[in-house]
Amino acid sequence: MAATVTPEAVEKTVVEALPQFGVDESQISRDATFEALDVDSLDLAELSQIIEDEYGVQLKGDDVGKIKTVGDAIDLVVSRAG
């Protein structure tokens, strides 16, 4: 059963997932860009997979191409679930 999608829950999932891609936790904020965090396309694909497993929300390659910041990613997942 997929977890309920709330902005807070998705933010927590994303913030907890990013350090496994080598991101320094202190650098993570809604406004931080994935580029600045050194999160690349494969990392984003893996993050999408984590989100899909957790919330049942599928993000495609096209979607992932559009998101620039941590906040964009969270908002996209929340809007998809709605």
Binding site: L42, A45, E46, Q49
Partner: protein, 243 residues
């Protein structure tokens, strides 16, 4: 990095020939093996039995991999054996004919099974591999593709495509500990190649056809911990044909 304990290898088209030999070789190397077959249940059972008698673990899984929905197959294997950490895309078909006379169905069938199905299985298989930071994908290509073989434009296109896919996917996932390689057999003695004319054998530098075990040994190596730094490569097992 070492292979996870419950690691399972999925070999498609493993009821006979090269696929069966690969399944046995991987089992002998400590992999739990998912023996996939489309219609030859007896063959798949015989492969499983041979593995079990040799002290290995294997199970047969029926699925037509060309149907485009590998998720169910993976879930079944994950439930009954363990996560698929090695995938051997071996299932293949041939439908020969000169290009000028080849109908759409011959083209689509061969591309669909030999290339598209391999891609879809690869895409699905990479998910647990990326998570595990360990994975092995071995695509069974062919000397046909890199070189010509009149009457096999569909097969050559599919196998050349498989080689292109191997290299690019390898580059995409290398830093997650997932390797993607291809083995390109030459003439190997199987049902698919039983009527090879003498002149063809004379053109092979080794002057003989290969055995399924020759191909299986190459796959076993590429799937092993020892091959962790080998990725995106094409290993020819062809008695020197491509030399």
């Amino acid at each position: 990095m070492a292979r996870p304990d419950d690691a399972t290898a999925l070999v498609t088209g493993a009821s006979k020939g090269i696929g069966a030999a690969i399944a046995k070789a991987l089992a002998a190397d400590g992999w739990q093996v998912a023996v996939n077959y489309r219609s030859d249940e007896d063959g798949a059972k015989a492969t499983v039995k041979a593995i079990e008698e040799a002290g290995g673990t294997a199970k047969a899984f029926q699925s037509d991999v060309s149907n485009g929905a590998p998720d169910e197959l993976f879930k079944q294997i994950e439930d009954e054996l363990g996560p698929v950490i090695a995938l051997v895309n071996n299932a293949g078909v041939a439908a020969d004919g000169l290009a000028i006379q080849m109908d759409d169905d011959q083209w689509d069938t061969v591309i669909g099974t030999n290339l598209t199905a391999a891609f879809r299985l690869t895409r699905r298989a990479m998910r647990p591999m990326i998570k595990a930071r360990y994975g092995r994908i071995v695509n069974i290509a062919s000397v046909v593709g890199p070189r010509a073989n009149a009457g096999q434009s569909n097969y050559a296109a599919a196998k050349a495509g498989l080689i292109g896919m191997t290299k690019t996917v390898a580059a995409e996932v290398a830093r997650r500990g997932v390797t993607v390689n291809a083995v390109a057999p030459g003439f190997i003695e199987t049902d698919m190649t039983k009527d090879i004319p003498e002149a063809v054998i004379d053109a092979i530098p080794a002057r003989r056809v290969g055995a399924p075990d020759d191909v299986a040994a190459a796959v076993r190596f590429l799937a092993s911990d020892d091959a962790g730094y080998v990725t995106g490569t094409i290993l020819f097992v062809d008695g020197g044909m491509s030399a």
